[in-house]
C-alpha cells in the first residue's frame, strides 16, 4: 500500500492557484539586489578613483632629473686667497653655484661673457647644488683643483618640464620655463647629460623650501620614533589592562566605569587627544614641542583602546577548558594567564596591535596641535628633538602652491599607503591563518 503508482493514484482536485503577486515581488527583489551591488560598487569605485588619481600624480615623484656635469673644483673660485688652512669657514662660504654654472655653460657652449645668455640659465640647476658641492669639498678638501663628474639636481621646474608635465603650448611668458631653457634641456637630454634617476632624496632629505631638495627623511624618522614609542608603551599597558579586566576584575561599578571609558575613548575624536597632549604634556609637564616623544605619548593614549578591545576579544576566545586544565594542575591564576592564555591569544593581540599601529601611523590631527607642523631640516637625533611625521609632512606639502610639491605629496601618500596596506594586509593574513575555532 505504500507504493501506489502515481498514474493510478486518485488525485484531489488541483487546488486553485492563488495569485500571490509573484511578478511584482520578484521585480522588487531584483531592484533590491541592484541597490546592493550599486552600493558596493560606489564604495569600490571611489577607492579605485582615489588610488588611481594619487598614483598617477605621484609615481613620477620617485624619479628626479639630474644633470651630470664635469665640475672643475677651481681653487680660484673656492679659495682665491688660499686661507683655508687657517680659516675653515672659507670652504663653507665659497661660491659653489658658480662652479656648477661654469660647468653647465661649458657643456652648453655658452660664452660666460655673454651676460644675457648666462642670465637665462638662472633657475636651470637646483639651489641645492651649493650644498651638494660644499659637502664634497668639506668632506675631502683634496678635490680642490681637480675635475670630477657630479650629478647635480635640476631645478623643480626643469624637472617637471623634463617629465613632460609642463604644457609647452602655453605662451612663454605664462609658464615657468623659457623656450631657451627647453632648448637647452633637449640638447642635454640628447647627449645623455640630463637624465632621470631614482629619487633617493625623497626618502632622505628633510624640509626645504625647494621641492627638488625636500624629502621625507625627517618625517620617516619621526614616524619611526613614534611607532616605537607606541609599541613599547601601548602594547604592554594594553595587554596588562586587558588581562586585568578579562581575567581578574570582578564585575562591579569600578570595572564598569573602566569599560565605559575604554569604549568611549575608542570613539573620541582624535583631535581631542591632541588637545590633551598640548595641555598636559607640553603646557603642564613642560615637554618639548614638536618632539616625537610627545607625539608618541599622544598616539599611545589614542591607540590603547583599540589594543585593549582586540586583546580582550582574543583572551575571551580562549575556551574555559584551558583555564580549568591549568588551574587543575595547581597553577596559580597568574601562571595560568601568562603561561597558557596569553600565548594562545597572541595572534589576536598581534592583529589588534598592528591595526592600532596602522591607525596611529596615519593619524594627523593630534600631531598638528602639538607642533609637529614644523619646518625641520635636520634629522632628529633623539625622540626629544623636533621632528615631523609622514602624514603631517603630506599635509604641509598640500599647503604648498608649487606643482612639484603636489608631485612630492602624492609620492609621499603612495609611500604612506604602501606602509599602511602592508600592515593591514599582514593583520588580515594573520587573522586568517590563526583564526582558531575552538
Amino acid at each position: 500500500m505504500t507504493d501506489i503508482p502515481l498514474d493510478t493514484m486518485v488525485r484531489a482536485a488541483a487546488p486553485a492557484r492563488r495569485d500571490i503577486g509573484l511578478k511584482a515581488r520578484y521585480a522588487a527583489e531584483r531592484r533590491f539586489r541592484i541597490y546592493g551591488v550599486l552600493a558596493i560598487s560606489v564604495g569600490l569605485a571611489f577607492l579605485a578613483i582615489m588610488l588611481i588619481t594619487i598614483v598617477s600624480k605621484g609615481y613620477t615623484a620617485f624619479w628626479q632629473t639630474t644633470v651630470t656635469l664635469p665640475i672643475n673644483f677651481d681653487e680660484k673660485i673656492i679659495d682665491p686667497s688660499n686661507k683655508r688652512a687657517t680659516d675653515p669657514d672659507v670652504l663653507i662660504k665659497a661660491n659653489y653655484p658658480k662652479l656648477a654654472d661654469k660647468a653647465l655653460m661649458a657643456k652648453l657652449g655658452i660664452d660666460p661673457s655673454n651676460k644675457p645668455m648666462a642670465l637665462k640659465l638662472k633657475g636651470f640647476l637646483s639651489e641645492g647644488a651649493r650644498v651638494q658641492l660644499r659637502d664634497i669639498v668639506v668632506a675631502d678638501p683634496s678635490v680642490i683643483g681637480t675635475t670630477r663628474n657630479v650629478d647635480i639636481l635640476a631645478a623643480a621646474n626643469l624637472d617637471s618640464a623634463f617629465k613632460g608635465q609642463i604644457d609647452l603650448n602655453v605662451e612663454e611668458a605664462r609658464r615657468k620655463v623659457s623656450d631657451q631653457q627647453i632648448a637647452w634641456m633637449n640638447q642635454l637630454k640628447a647627449d645623455g647629460t640630463m637624465a632621470e634617476h631614482f629619487n633617493k632624496g625623497l626618502f632622505t632629505y628633510g624640509a626645504s623650501s625647494r621641492p627638488e631638495t625636500s624629502g621625507m627623511g625627517v618625517a620617516i624618522i619621526g614616524s619611526f620614533y613614534m611607532m616605537v614609542i607606541v609599541l613599547l608603551l601601548a602594547l604592554p599597558i594594553g595587554v596588562a589592562a586587558s588581562i586585568y579586566l578579562e581575567e581578574f576584575a570582578k564585575k562591579n561599578r569600578f570595572t564598569d566605569l573602566i569599560e565605559v571609558n575604554i569604549n568611549n575613548l575608542a570613539a573620541v575624536p582624535s583631535i581631542v587627544f591632541g588637545l590633551l597632549g598640548l595641555a598636559v604634556f607640553i603646557n603642564f609637564l613642560g615637554m618639548p614641542r614638536s618632539a616625537a616623544f610627545v607625539g608618541g605619548l599622544v598616539l599611545t593614549l589614542m591607540t590603547l583602546p583599540t589594543i585593549i578591545i582586540a586583546t580582550r576579544a582574543a583572551l575571551a576566545a580562549v575556551p574555559p577548558s584551558i583555564r580549568s586544565a591549568a588551574l587543575g594542575l595547581g597553577a596559580s591564576k597568574m601562571q595560568m594567564v601568562f603561561q597558557h592564555i596569553l600565548p594562545l591569544a597572541a595572534p589576536g593581540i598581534l592583529t589588534g596591535t598592528i591595526i592600532g599601529l596602522a591607525r596611529a601611523l596615519g593619524e594627523t590631527a593630534p600631531l598638528l596641535l602639538i607642533g609637529m607642523v614644523a619646518f625641520v631640516a635636520d634629522y632628529p637625533k633623539t625622540p626629544f628633538d623636533p621632528a615631523t611625521a609622514l602624514p603631517v609632512q603630506i599635509y604641509m606639502w598640500a599647503n604648498e602652491a608649487e606643482r612639484a610639491f603636489v608631485e612630492r605629496m602624492s609620492g609621499a601618500i603612495i609611500i604612506l599607503l604602501v606602509f599602511l596596506m602592508a600592515m593591514n594586509i599582514t593583520a588580515i593574513v594573520l587573522r586568517r591563518r590563526f583564526e582558531r575555532r575552538w
Binding site: M1, T2, D3, I4, L6, M9, V10, R11, A12, A13, A14, P15, A16, R18, D19, I20, G21, L22, R25, Y26
Partner: protein, 274 residues
C-alpha cells in the same frame, strides 16, 4: 478551505487502521539524496506523504529526518553548500523543477521550526506577516479575519485576543510555538512541515500542541519530525523511520509500533539506541 474535497474529507475522518486504497498522495519523494558539500547526508529516500494525514519522521539524531523535511519546501536552498538529488513532487509537480517558484512553493508548503521563532513584532503582525507579503488580504477587515481565524485554529486565540498588539516574543514558549503555527496557517498552506515542534516545550505545552496537530489534520497535510516515539504514536497516521541517512521502514503508525519489519526499527522503538 479550497483544498478540501469530499474525497479527502472522507479520508480525514477514516480510521487510522483502515486507510483506504484510494488515499491521495500529496507529496512524493523519489530517490531523494542530499549533499552538504562533499558529505552525503541523505541516500535514496522514497517516501509518500498522504493528503490530510500526519506523517511522522522518526529516528536517532543525525539520521537525516530533518534534512528530508527541509527538502519538502526547499529550505535547504538557504544553505550555500547543500545540494539535492532525486525528485520530490507536490501534486505530481516536481518542486525542484525550474518552472516551480520557491516562494510560491513555500506559500503552499509551510514550516514550523524546532525553536519557536516569533518575529520581534506584535502578535497580530506576526500572524499577518505571511498574508501581507503574499497580498492575501485586500482590506483590513479581511486581515483581521485571517488573523483571528488562524489564531483560533492554532488554539491560542483565547489567550492572546486581548493583547494582539503586544510583542510576540513576550509569550511563553508553548504560546510562542502555537503563535508560529498560527503564522504558518495564516498563509493557508496545503502542507505544514513541523521540525520537532515540541522539543523546546514543557510537557503541558507539548500536550496542547499535539492536540492542535491532530485537529489541524482535518484541513492540512502534516509532516512532523519528532524525537519522541510516543509523540509519533500519538499524533501520526503514518510513520517513517530514518537511520544514518537511509529510510529504513515506512508504514501505518500502528503497524510500525506494534509489528515493525526491520530489525533496526524494532531496536529503536524498544529503546536499544537513540
Amino acid at each position: 478551505m479550497n483544498i478540501m474535497t469530499e474525497q479527502s474529507l472522507e479520508n480525514a475522518v477514516g480510521d487510522k487502521m483502515n486507510a483506504k486504497s484510494n488515499e491521495v498522495i500529496k507529496m512524493r519523494g523519489d530517490k531523494v539524496g542530499v549533499f552538504y558539500g562533499e558529505k552525503q547526508a541523505l541516500f535514496d529516500v522514497n517516501l509518500d506523504v498522504r493528503l490530510n494525514q500526519v506523517t511522522a519522521l522518526i529516528g536517532p539524531s543525525g539520521c537525516g529526518k530533518s534534512t528530508f523535511l527541509r527538502c519538502l519546501n526547499r529550505m535547504n536552498d538557504t544553505i550555500d553548500s547543500a545540494r539535492v538529488t532525486g525528485k520530490i513532487t507536490l501534486d505530481q509537480e516536481d518542486i525542484y523543477d525550474k518552472s516551480i517558484d520557491v516562494v510560491e512553493l513555500r506559500a503552499r508548503v509551510g514550516m514550523v521550526f524546532q525553536k519557536p521563532n516569533p518575529f520581534p513584532k506584535s502578535i497580530y503582525e506576526n500572524v499577518a506577516y505571511g498574508p501581507r507579503i503574499h497580498g492575501l488580504a485586500k482590506r483590513k477587515a479581511d486581515m483581521d479575519q485571517i488573523v483571528e481565524s488562524s489564531l483560533k485554529k492554532a488554539a491560542i486565540w483565547n489567550e492572546v485576543k486581548d493583547r494582539l498588539h503586544e510583542p510576540g516574543t513576550g509569550l511563553s514558549g508553548g504560546q510562542q510555538q502555537r503563535l508560529c503555527i498560527a503564522r504558518a496557517i495564516a498563509v493557508s498552506p496545503e502542507v505544514i512541515l513541523m521540525d520537532e515542534p515540541c522539543s523546546a516545550l514543557d510537557p503541558i505545552a507539548t500536550a496542547r500542541v499535539e492536540e492542535l496537530i491532530d485537529e489541524l489534520r482535518q484541513n492540512y497535510t502534516i509532516v512532523i519530525v519528532t524525537h519522541s516515539m510516543q509523540q509519533a504514536a500519538r499524533v501520526s497516521q503514518r510513520t517513517a523511520m530514518f537511520h544514518l541517512g537511509y529510510l529504513v521502514e515506512e508504514g501505518a503508525t500502528d503497524k510500525m509500533f506494534t509489528n515493525p519489519d526491520d530489525k533496526r526499527t524494532q531496536d529503536y522503538i524498544t529503546g536499544r539506541f537513540g
